[in-house]
Amino acid sequence: MIPKNIEKQLNILDYALSSLWRRRLKSLSVLLVFAAVIFLLASFQMVTQALTAKAKQLLVHTPEITLQQMSAGRQEAIALTYSHQLAEIFGIRKVVPRIWGYYFDEVRLANYTIIGMDLSEIPGNALLDTTLLSGTMPEKAEQGKVVVGQSITKSLELGGRLTFSLFRPDLSLKSFEISGEFAPDTDILSHDLIVMNLADARDLFSIPTGLATDLCVYVTNPQEIETIAKKISAALPGVRVLTRPQIQKTYQVVFGWRSGFGSICLLAALAAFAILAWDKASGLSPEEKREIAILKVLGWETGDILAVRFWESVSVSGLACLVGITAAYIHVVYFAASLFRPVLMGWSVLRPELQLLPRLAAGDILLILAFTVIPYLAATVIPAWRNATVPADAALGG
């Protein structure tokens, strides 16, 4: 048996739904606008969430600590001799020098990312081969062998050839042979990437021996990252020490900031919607006034009519949320959030294809609800009360 109170609320809900159906054009217009607002906010939230998760997932493979030489506030080449000083710090597994730079191809007007590193030195390097679609990573002794990303092959118009040349700073040519290609699912990182060994990169950029752009420090125990970073910065005062958690937090702040900024822009839309909802809810036609008056004559109390209006608002917002959030999910997953990606991902012209997969937790849904449903309910409550307190005699023309 259903308790009396719940049965009453169920009957009121039933009445509210039929009342919404009777005014279906008005309800539908509010529903559609509401769903659109929710769609915008939810898309933003989902893109942020997916991008943050993606960044986190990718950063797992970066070295625990990166060292960069700073001079006059700018980054400079770092001396390899520092690694001898670092060898005394207990807990460091390996220090690997890296040359990381950008090569502007004047013929094809494209920027390539170049990473020169002796990959065999990296702990866990066996896994690197799994990122390749074909071929192998260049060995330390192999000169002129490179692994390239998907778009490089296209951009260089290689056809079936495996060799190509790039200019050194003095405009002499250095030739390379492709020994492997990155798989498409690593695109977000490898799309414009050319990986070669350290000596080749040094030759290409004419960097003197004994220098590199940065030193990658691999730490055995992740719990010790902070301590080791502190020790390094004490031992090498002029060096900038970047830890992986720091970089992760920075990404999080940037994405959070951008998403917050986007939400502020959408607040205008939300305010406009709240005004629309207020307006729709307060404009009562004579028939509606008569309906309320009849209900009151039949013995309904003000509280019951308020409950009808409450259930109407809840049904409209529930349905709008369902439509809006589903549409946002489709937009983000199947259309890669094409409306908002430029705002959240930076302004680069060449951008990799990206698969976004938001994982919506209950908290995110609550956030979207708080952003949209609460202002809507608040905007409709006062008009609802005005409706509910229409004097019966006046409305019936008495």
Binding site: F44, Q45, T48, P245, Q246, Q248, K249, Q252, V253, G256, W257, S259, G260, F261, S263, I264, L267, T302, G303, L306, F310, A361, A362, G363, L366, L367, L369, A370, F371, I374, P375, L377, A378, V381, I382, A384, W385, A388, T389
Partner: protein
């Protein structure tokens, strides 16, 4: 750090609640000044309509405050990812001096708004509206609480700088001898467990005694017992229950329970606890107005219902809080 969707949503909800509170407050002032139960003047009829509005507004406000309470904890959990050194919501809430007070005020607020709605429900059940003046005086007293809540929350959000170092919960609630940050150590686990079980038994006995025969001093004792138990349960969840849920002896955090990794277990746990504490304390609260005209039967009915509910919820809460502990004792841990 206002430019973050969580901070924005919290601020937006608070603004909405403040607005609703202000409108209800306006009615309150008018009711206190002009309320004349016997009169049939235009003003009186208008006021009788307005009390419907204000009570609806407070009911909405209560609902929204419960949502902001959850949102606040979840937001803190998000903030910890950008605050260097914070590993979960505890670290984020301790990042500046306003976090914990804001949370406490929100929690206390939920009870007070609930009491107000109870008062209102009792009032409209009687034909004479005997509680109108008390109710609106209480509403005016609730407004400063609301303002305090919003102020603390705003100060907390404004004070979050994404680069300060805080201690994570492993340090704060941890076993090692730390500095002032050790909020929840120094309790012996066995002693706490014994007190907890003892309190449950005593509460059950008191409730049973009340069910047998209603005595107002016993109801007050029962309410006081619930207040004590509410605090004790929060300490118990933090120091004992949580680490059994996480299956990690040194992770003692009251907030991570709310995460999807732990199947949102915290919502069930805190939901029952808060509802139980409300049902447990409200009979004594309702007893205060029992003597008013036309209320004694209504209050008595409510008191009995709340008492039965509180006992039921106590059983559910005990079951929930001992589930992981017993599972550990019987099966020897995870898997």
């Amino acid at each position: 750090m206002f430019l973050n969707p969580w901070s924005l949503a919290l601020s937006l909800c608070s603004l909405v609640v403040l607005l609703l509170g202000a409108i209800a407050g306006r009615t309150a002032v008018r009711v206190l000044r002009f309320w004349e139960p016997g009169s049939d003047s235009n003003r009186q009829i208008r006021l009788e309509n307005e009390i419907w509005l204000s009570s609806t507004l407070v009911a909405y406000g209560l609902g929204f405050q419960i949502i902001t309470l959850i949102l606040f904890v979840l937001a803190a959990d998000q903030f910890c990812q950008v605050i260097v050194g914070a590993m979960c919501a505890t670290g984020a809430l301790l990042a500046n001096p306003f976090g914990m007070p804001a949370l406490l005020i929100k929690l206390v607020g939920v009870f007070f708004y609930g009491f107000w709605i109870l008062l209102h429900q009792l009032d409209i059940r009687s034909e004479h509206y005997p509680l109108v003046r008390i109710k609106y005086l209480a509403l005016l007293l609730l407004l400063p609480l609301l303002v305090l809540d919003v102020t603390l929350q705003t100060l907390y959000i404004a004070g979050i700088k994404p680069d300060i170092i805080t201690s994570c919960c492993a340090v704060v609630f941890g076993e090692d001898i730390g500095r002032t940050a050790n909020l929840m150590t120094g309790y012996s686990q066995q002693g706490l467990l014994a007190t907890f079980i003892g309190s449950i038994v005593v509460l059950g006995l008191l409730g049973g005694g009340l069910l047998q025969r209603w005595r107002s001093w016993l109801a007050k004792l029962y309410a006081a017992g619930w207040l004590w138990f509410f605090g004790l349960a929060l300490v118990m969840i933090t120091t004992v229950v949580s680490s059994y849920v996480y299956a990690m002896p040194f992770h003692k955090c009251p907030f991570c329970l709310l995460k999807p990794e732990y199947h949102y277990f915290g919502f069930a746990l805190y939901g029952t606890l808060i509802a139980a504490a409300f049902c447990g304390t409200s009979p004594a609260f309702a007893g205060l107005v029992r003597g008013r005209k036309g209320l004694s039967a209504i209050v008595a009915r409510y008191q009995r219902l709340a008492l039965i509910l509180s006992l039921l919820l106590l059983v559910i809460f005990s079951g929930l809080s001992f589930y992981h502990y017993l599972k550990y004792l019987i099966s020897g841990g995870e898997g």
